[in-house]
């Protein structure tokens, strides 16, 4: 079982990313859950979403408190109370995947984080490829690359079911670029 917690801001697509990843796993015949954490948040507010993936049925229906992977869609969440939420429950072996221009090493130093760190400038990719700072598909590419829980082709197949035309093309391109440019290091 792998448990992933996604941090984003309302409207950035963290919930969709969590769900796309679960869908890709399900397409591969695995068992998965994806669910959001809903409060009274509206667009812009910090939000969390969760993905669980396993080879057998998943019975746990509680939130994820000690994630194996934390994905941060927005670098602005690495400050203050939001940072506390991001780092909450991280354990030995947990992996941090962050949308930032920083290298994994400098990010780890900045956060005093010990463990595996992956970074990607997803915002730059999104702006370039999609034309808007919608980073969820790029982050999904980074997750697929660094966590390896699903095959990249499954994610592409899920996208093909969901989108079409230019939107599909641009999102696939974002994933591919992210997949290629994600950097990771063990701090």
């Amino acid at each position: 079982m792998i448990e992933i917690r996604w941090h984003g801001r309302g409207g950035q697509g963290a919930v969709t990313a969590a769900e796309l990843l679960a869908s890709a796993a399900i397409m591969e015949g695995k068992w998965a859950q994806a669910f959001p954490s809903f409060g009274a948040e509206r667009r812009g507010a910090p939000v969390q979403a969760y993905t669980r993936i396993d080879d057998k049925p998943i019975y746990n229906r509680s939130f994820i408190y000690e994630p194996d992977v934390v994905v941060v869609l927005d670098p602005s969440l690495l400050e203050g109370a939001e940072l506390r939420d991001v780092l909450s429950g991280l354990k030995a072996g947990s992996k941090l995947i962050v949308n930032t221009k920083l290298s994994p090493k400098s990010l780890a130093e900045k956060l005093h984080f010990k463990g595996e760190v992956a970074t990607i400038d997803a915002t730059a990719i999104a702006l370039e490829v999609i034309g808007r700072p919608i980073v969820n598909t790029a982050m999904l590419g980074a997750v697929v690359k660094t966590v390896g829980v699903v095959d990249p082709s499954s994610v592409l197949k899920v996208l093909e079911k969901r989108f079409s035309g230019g939107v599909l093309k641009r999102n696939i391109e974002a994933i591919k670029r992210a997949y290629e440019s994600t950097l990771q290091e063990v701090a």
């Binding site: 679960a22 399900i26 998965a32 229906r61």
Partner: protein, 396 residues
Amino acid sequence: MAQRMALSTNYAIAYAVKNCDVDVIAAYPITPQTTVVERLSEFVANGELDAEYIPVESEHSALSAVIGASAAGARVFTATASQGLALMHEVLFMASGMRLPIVMSIANRTLSMPLNIHNDHQDMMSSRDCGWIQIYISSAQEAHDTVIQAYRLAERLDILLPVCVCYDGYVLSHTYEPVEVRDKQKVLEYTPRVERPHVLDPDKPITMGVMALPNYTYEFKYQVVDALKRVPKALEEVDAEFADKFGVKYGLYEEYMCSDADVIMIALGAIASTARLAIDNLRSKGFRIGLFRPRLYRPIPVELWKSVLRKAKMLAIVDRAIAFGGCGGPLFSDVATMFINDSERPLMINFIAGIGGRDVTVRDLEQMGLMAFKSLEEGLKEQCIYFGVRGVDYGL
């Protein structure tokens, strides 16, 4: 062909409704139910489902409209949650009293105040004795399959009662997970259209929704009591037919490691799913504990439940609802009542948990299990524990 998809429970229900070829849908938006009917309206809008979608102006009207449509012979669906169900309250009794095979899904959510959109079972528990068949499910797949079974069950001429399929709001309603979407043609073979004896038809005009005086009202109400008595067996049959067709069987309840258990934990819906892990953990530490998850909750198949539960020394009943001022939670009261005349019966401890969307973790459930064992050893100090309320200490 059946198709394995990643669907939330809400969407899993929408697909089931679509494949049952429902004629009329009436619904009003309420969190966390809304995405059920959003998806259904999409199916109608793009021609995947040939139905009338009535975008009513309230839940009261939603149920009223499907009553009208069902009375006119249509296969109908509505969905709601929380305040919406409370607003429907009076109409619930009319639907069952009129013996209309309405299917409704309920994404269980707490009731105000305070306003809160999250899960507990307060909404349904406040309407549990309204003559509807109530089935609590614990996965998106089960929701999908149960909606299909619900039409088969509701429309049986020996039943003719409305059914609600209850599932935890957000915890299940918004969780994507694998769902085998049943093949439409097979679904329709499984639950074919039925000619009902009493519908609005100018060729055979009848009066529906009569007034009765004290001399006849009780007899009409007893008909509902009688029909409910037939439900457990009918659901077993419906479930067996479902297994024949689709290879999956759910039963009227689910039991896990109950046969040798000293303590049996009883919980509905999502909590019961999570509780499996707590049972595994406690078992690995040597505690003989089991889990009982009622699926059919109204009517309660009393003897069936008792056949599983009576062997335990202690029942740990987890209620996700408060019966304010009562003798414990609603599920607790039901279980306690079924044993009241037995000279030998298990002790019972009640945990009220998960109120207003408060997460119920594996650890919480392990703790409840341990508290049950401690009470078994040292005697019950408290019968009803409001588990996890800050500021309350039961010394257990």
